[in-house]
């Protein structure tokens, strides 16, 4: 069990975002869709944590994830509307969604301290993956300056979350 979990985490952390690596660089409508999806998935993960966890630190972290990602996505929606861009679904968004659903199902079976640890570990890994994708693929590929700038703010926010998750993780040990 433990081995499977670590192997899965390692795979998630080390692999680049699925389907982007082989393909040509993503278009702005695809980038907008990926960034928005990544935020929504983290909100769903946080909502699961708020339902299941009783740990004060974990709940405060989850609450912050809901607030921050909602705020970023609100800005993203306002921007795509202004730019008249329709976010376009793509294999990367689909793979992220599928991975997140599998993770939620896995976490649903856990409770108490085991849930808290697994949720926070996954938050560290998930933010690392998304930050890696933002830095190496999404930001360099974005052609619209305003989209690029929003992604850069998003990267700073997500890097903050990664460190915050690491702090919570250290406190759980």
């Amino acid at each position: 069990m433990r081995f499977t979990l670590y192997a899965a985490l390692a795979a998630l952390t080390l692999s680049p975002l699925p389907a982007l690596a082989q393909n040509a660089k993503p278009t702005d409508p695809q980038i907008a869709h990926i960034a928005y999806t990544a935020g929504q998935l983290d909100i769903e993960a946080a909502k699961q944590a708020l339902k299941k966890s009783k740990n004060k630190e974990v709940r405060a972290f989850a609450d912050d994830m809901v607030k921050d990602h909602s705020a970023v996505n609100k800005q993203a929606l306002a921007l795509v509307k202004k730019l008249k861009v329709t976010p376009q679904d793509n294999p990367t968004s689909q793979a992220l969604t599928k991975q997140a659903a599998a993770k939620r199902a896995e976490l649903a079976k856990l409770s108490g301290a085991a849930f808290d640890k697994a949720y926070v570990d996954n938050e560290v890994a998930y933010h690392k993956t998304v930050n890696g994708a933002l830095e190496t693929q999404l930001i360099p590929s974005a052609s619209n300056a305003e989209l690029k700038s929003l992604l850069q703010t998003g990267l700073k926010i997500f890097q903050g979350h990664e460190q915050h998750a690491e702090h919570v993780d250290a406190a759980l040990k």
């Binding site: 912050d64 607030k67 921050d68 705020a71 609100k74 800005q75 703010t153 700073k156 926010i157 890097q159 903050g160 979350h161 460190q163 915050h164 702090h167």
Partner: protein, 106 residues
């Protein structure tokens, strides 16, 4: 009492009254796109630091040594009157990659 002396005394009191409030300053730190600006400020004991959060995200100004924590809701400001001299590193509890420094002279 000579009128001249009265003016002198009034000036003296006036001077004192003016000098005292002028000594406690308000120092403003702006937060924009997850950056404390300026990243380093110097103050004196009794001064007030005002953090103006222009982001749509909640932030905090939390001392590394836990001696203070100011909660900064989105688009709101928060303040702290400094009571202790020293150099304080602080960060945002929600985004620990946001770091800054406050130097307080006695």
């Amino acid at each position: 009492m000579q009128p001249g002396r009265l003016v002198f005394i009034a000036a003296l009191f006036g001077g004192i009254v003016c000098v005292v409030p002028a000594r406690a300053e308000t120092i403003k730190v702006e937060i924009k796109n997850l950056v404390f600006m300026p990243a380093e400020v110097t103050a004196k004991v009794g001064d007030t630091i005002v953090w103006d959060n222009q982001d749509v995200f909640a932030h905090t100004a939390t001392a590394t040594d836990k001696s203070f924590e100011v909660i900064l809701p989105p688009k709101k400001s928060g303040s702290l009157t400094v009571k202790k001299a020293g150099t304080f590193d602080y960060f945002c509890k929600f985004h620990p990659n946001m770091k800054a420094k406050l130097a307080v002279a006695p």
